[in-house]
Amino acid sequence: MAAKKLRRAQLSQEMCERLSRYQITTCQDFLCLSLLELMKVTGQSYYEVQKLLCKVSRACAPKMQTAYEMKMRKSVNPSSAFLSTTLHSLDRVLHGGVPCGSLTEITSPPGCGKTQFCIMLSVLATLPVSMGGLDGAVIYIDTESAFSAERLIEIAANRFPAYFDSDEKLLCMSRSIHLYRELTCGCVQKRIMSLEEEIISKKVKLIIIDSVASVVRKEFDTKLQGNLAERSNFLTRGASVLKYLAEEFSIPV
């Protein structure tokens, strides 16, 4: 949205050319300037500049929806609002399960079972909707190399013996879990940026990152100057991309 070129904001051609001489090509550049600067750059009067500002703002402002519309949209498809974890007390506390469309964070001291929980969620996501799953693929970004495919098969076979009665079904399920091993922050970032296309092409319904903290702590030593800012930069940028993906595709992350 921010990188939207002014051309597409329905400004006139000559205005766009004039602005590009000052290196203002995107909506972001335009909105960052003060009114006086805009007057100087566009050569227009005060009122004209305000009208231009409104035009450009309209091009990149978000759409309005009332809370009622949001609720209606959700209630149309209630089963897809949550991914049930099949742990009844946890589901009750979470109001239904892991929510679709937002980020959920699981933290604990080592050895408590985070990776096991993630593996179980991957299995659940591949199940058909009638069994409480999401009937889709899973993207699993593993930074600790802790994912074990054998354990995956074990969980699936023992938990849902009725469904996974043949090897064929197990293979099919494991085919829909895409595992990416990323070992550095840069790789993780690149992977997150490239996720959008994969989600559409592979019909992904769940994204798991296991774990964010390990790769960040390895690379950013907070005692060094400047690393704190870079680290929070990396984290917030990753978080906003993930939030966007979660909301756009209504999937849990």
Partner: protein
């Protein structure tokens, strides 16, 4: 009429030409007329006409302003302000302790900032306020609508449904206890669907969308004149990453603050912002301070800081022009934002007559 040409809101190139041609006051321009003007400075007649129209509009604006009429600069005495403030409504928060330290609730025409660590209840309070602003006047509310600008994506509709249902139930209880006509009538319009459809939600993904939305807000508020609350949930989030140029950030934030103040005053709306906390590393220890820096601290009129004390949530009034600094405890229940102990004050019908705007205090229902 004696206004200098350099102060008129014309295009800079035009102003430069006028100055070079020797024009000094607006009156001279008006006397010359469009044809004369176009010949003297070498612009087309249409441009000259446009410029003269701008000048005329400005001068009329000036003339209207000087005798103290309604205009951009409003003058009034402190007495008028006092009367205005006393009849002004507050947006209650359903936590009477918090309302007390704020002097009645969230004030209209002021910017209130809520800072706190993650998970302490800022978004909960914002959602509660978005519902509370719609409470009808006979129950002590301001009967307005709400604009919710979300930058972090933490707005959960289901939660708002819970809060709104609890609020409607509370009003029903009051109406039953009091048995007044206008209460019943107001309850007919104060339903769940109405509450939800009067919360206007915008999801801004980065600071450009936020800036664009705030530029468009005056127009939006002019169309929806009943809006009395603008919530920006997470003003820090889009500004904290991807910003190498801190001076640009300060400038944008100050501009934003200015626009919000103008908005709050012009439309008699309350503006509520939520801010994150950041760690300031001092000589020997580190303290949690509100994010976005020192200069942002001047933007808000009222500042609330939410923090934890073991397992108890506390709210501190950190900055306020009229109330003193104090700390209270609050609770977040399934019904929303509440006091820690239920307010065990029995209501009296006489008390309601003293100030019909104040919601009569009834016994809070135990959870």
């Amino acid at each position: 009429m004696q206004r200098e040409v350099g102060t008129l809101p014309l295009a800079p190139a035009l102003r430069a030409r006028l100055a070079a041609a020797g024009f000094q006051t607006a009156q001279e321009l008006l006397d010359t007329g469009p044809c004369g003007l176009s010949k003297e400075i070498g612009i087309s007649r249409e441009e000259a006409l446009e410029a003269l129209q701008v000048v005329r509009q400005e001068c009329h604006g000036d003339a209207a302003r000087t005798p103290g009429g309604p205009g951009a600069t409003r003058k009034c005495t402190a007495l008028e302000l006092l009367e205005e403030e006393q009849t002004q409504g507050f947006i209650i928060t359903f936590c009477s302790a918090l309302d007390n330290i704020l002097g009645g609730g969230v004030q209209l025409t002021k910017i209130t900032e809520i800072c706190g660590a993650p998970g302490v209840g800022k978004t909960q309070l914002c959602m509660q306020l978005a519902v509370d602003v719609q409470i009808p006047e006979c129950f002590g509310g301001v009967a307005g609508e709400a604009v919710f600008i979300d930058t972090e994506g933490s707005f959960m509709v289901d939660r708002v449904v819970d809060i709104a249902a609890a609020c409607v139930q509370h009003c029903h209880l009051i109406a039953e206890a009091q048995q007044e006509e206008d209460h019943q009538k107001a309850l007919e319009t104060f339903t769940l669907e109405n509450i939800l459809s009067h919360i206007y939600y915008f999801r801004c993904r980065d600071y450009t969308e936020l800036l664009a939305q705030v530029y468009l807000l005056p127009e939006f508020l002019a169309e929806h004149s009943k809006v009395r609350l603008v919530v920006i949930d997470g003003i820090a989030f889009p500004f904290r990453h991807d910003f190498e140029d801190l001076s640009l950030r300060t400038r944008l934030l100050n501009g934003l603050a200015q626009q919000l103040i103008i908005l709050a005053n012009d439309h008699r709306a309350a503006v509520v912002l939520t801010n994150q906390m950041t760690t300031r590393i001092g000589q020997s220890q580190s303290t949690l301070v509100p994010a976005l820096g020192e200069s942002w601290g001047h933007a808000a009129t009222v500042r609330l800081i939410f923090h934890w004390d073991n397992t108890q949530r506390l709210a501190t009034l950190y900055k306020s022009p009229s109330q003193k600094e104090s700390t209270i405890a609050y609770h977040i229940t399934c019904q929303g934002f509440r006091d820690v102990q239920p307010a065990a004050v029995t209501h009296s019908p006489q008390g309601a007559e003293l100030n019909p705007r104040k919601r009569p205090r009834t016994e809070e229902e135990k959870q």
